[in-house]
């Protein structure tokens, strides 16, 4: 209090001197009156400009970003589209689009601490791995082929995007087709893409829009007769040893052949190993719930740091959103057409329902449920869920391997 009292030395009024005496006596009342004097001083010198000086600096681009943030919040709350990511992203978008926003600095610190070094996506992958049950895949490993086929959209979009963008940006845009948020963040960060916010918004929005994107593509590529094909489900017993060895084997195979995928695959499989080992139930629970939720909170709001108007509002944004949609469509088409190709070599009673190929994208478990629902719509006795979920799970594996391959082709 004594340190600031020198400010009132220039004041000549008796009132000011009395306040100075109170300040020196360190009485609380003195600070109140002192604040009053300072306010009057400021008001006399600047008028009321300090109340609206930032208001007039608001640009129309920032207003547009507020609307975009509001739309993301609306989609999260009322349409329940990926609320865990879209709500923090939407709110963060509003937060960083004010003149001289004080939120940018702490968010930059968080970004450098967790996204620039790819920490947050990898931690989230531990949680995702702990949530996945590979049982349906282990009982019928052939289903993993459809997971591989459904990554076609990534590579086709890579070719399309290269027409408009530099190779690293084209590869980062193509990875939207992985339908996996952490993979998209990690790959785009590793490749140094400047379009990370657009890629994030596209990846998470289209993941939530899978129920709208996939059915028309599936119906276009299949006949009613094909959609009515029934598939028998004979679950094979899978031993605990298999469930424990599976994540280890996948990590080793992927890391040896595509070292770029080691982090992605490794953290995913580490989470799964915690789940399956049977001796770390508390860690598994923590990974599935606390860790996943905590990282998701930080991830969503931190990525919003890149949603500043000058970065996001470009014509390129529309192009990226369009290419992301292409990636999802061609992922679906790749899986369905591969299933139809396999059917050419199968005997009549053993045909596959080609719709299960569409479940090979990594939007788990939404894509698997969509295929099952479409099967029931065609034939209410046709239960495709275990097959489609098995393919959906294998898509998780295939998408991270695709991400690793992209990093191998284009990585620094």
């Amino acid at each position: 209090m004594g340190g600031v009292c020198h400010r009132i030395e220039p004041l000549g009024s008796i009132y000011a001197r009395a306040v100075a005496a109170l300040c020196l006596a360190e009485l609380p009342l003195g600070s109140f009156f002192f604040a009053q004097i300072l306010y009057k001083e400021r008001k006399q010198k600047m008028g009321l400009e300090f109340l609206y000086e930032y208001l007039v600096q608001i640009t129309w681009q920032q207003v547009v970003m507020w609307v975009i943030g509001g739309i993301l919040i609306f989609l999260a709350i009322y349409k329940k589209m990926e609320p865990t990511l879209l709500l923090p992203l939407g709110f963060g978008t509003i937060l960083v689009n004010f003149p001289e926003s004080g939120a940018i600095e702490p968010l930059t610190e968080l970004f450098d601490a967790g996204i620039a070094n790819e920490l947050f996506p990898l931690l989230l992958f531990i949680g995702i791995g702990a949530m996945i049950d590979f049982g349906p895949v282990l009982s019928n490993p052939k289903l993993m082929l459809f997971g591989a086929a459904a990554q076609f959209g990534i590579f086709f979009t890579l070719c399309l995007a290269s027409i408009f963008f530099a190779p690293n940006d084209a590869a980062s845009i193509a990875i939207i087709g992985a339908a996996d948020g952490p993979t998209a963040i990690l790959v785009s960060q590793e490749l140094g893409s400047i379009y990370q916010p657009q890629i994030m918004v596209a990846a998470y929005s289209y993941m939530a829009l899978v129920p709208i994107i996939q059915p028309p593509v599936i119906k276009l590529l299949t006949t009613k007769k094909e959609r009515r094909i029934r598939m028998e489900y004979k679950p094979a017993n899978v031993s605990k040893a298999t469930k424990i060895l599976f994540p280890i084997i996948i990590t080793m195979v992927a890391a040896i052949i595509t070292p770029g995928a080691a982090a992605l695959v490794g953290f995913l499989m580490f989470g799964n190993l915690i789940r399956e080992c049977g001796v770390l139930n508390s860690l598994s629970e923590t990974a599935q719930n606390v860790l996943a939720n905590l990282v998701t909170i930080f991830l969503g709001i931190t990525i919003a740091m890149k949603m500043q108007a000058e970065d996001f509002l470009q014509i390129n944004t529309l192009l990226i959103l369009g290419l992301g949609l292409f990636a999802f469509i061609f992922d679906t088409a790749g899986g369905v057409l591969f299933a139809k190709f396999i059917n050419l070599f199968l005997p009549k009673g053993k045909k596959l329902n080609p719709m299960i190929g569409a479940a090979g994208i990594s939007a788990f478990p939404m894509s698997g449920r969509i295929v099952h629902k479409m099967g029931l719509e065609e034939d209410n006795q046709n239960f495709l869920l275990m097959h489609s979920i098995g393919v959906n799970v294998s898509g998780q594996i295939a998408s991270v391997i695709a991400g690793g391959l992209i990093l191998s082709f284009f990585g620094r």
Binding site: Y52, E53, V137, M144, L145, S162, S239, I250, I257, Q314
Partner: protein, 73 residues
């Protein structure tokens, strides 16, 4: 200050569109053909890796098949 803000608004919109259109993107269709081999290698790579994982899974399933315990008479 408020008057200047409103006056400059239309100018700002025009500048932004021109700037972004100018630097929006390059158009190089030949790059599509140049990247096609990467598409081929990428799909082949995924199938190879997945194929190896499938093979390893079948092997592990065979080696660690759950055995039904028969009751001792």
């Amino acid at each position: 200050m408020l008057k200047n803000f409103i006056f400059n608004l239309s100018g700002d919109i025009t500048d932004t569109i021109e700037t972004t259109a100018g630097k929006a993107f390059e158009f190089a269709p030949k790059d599509f053909v140049e990247e096609l081999p990467k598409m081929g290698y990428g799909m082949l790579g995924i199938f190879i890796v997945i194929g190896l994982i499938i093979g390893a899974t079948y092997l592990v399933n065979f080696l660690f098949k759950p055995r039904n315990k028969t009751p001792k008479n």
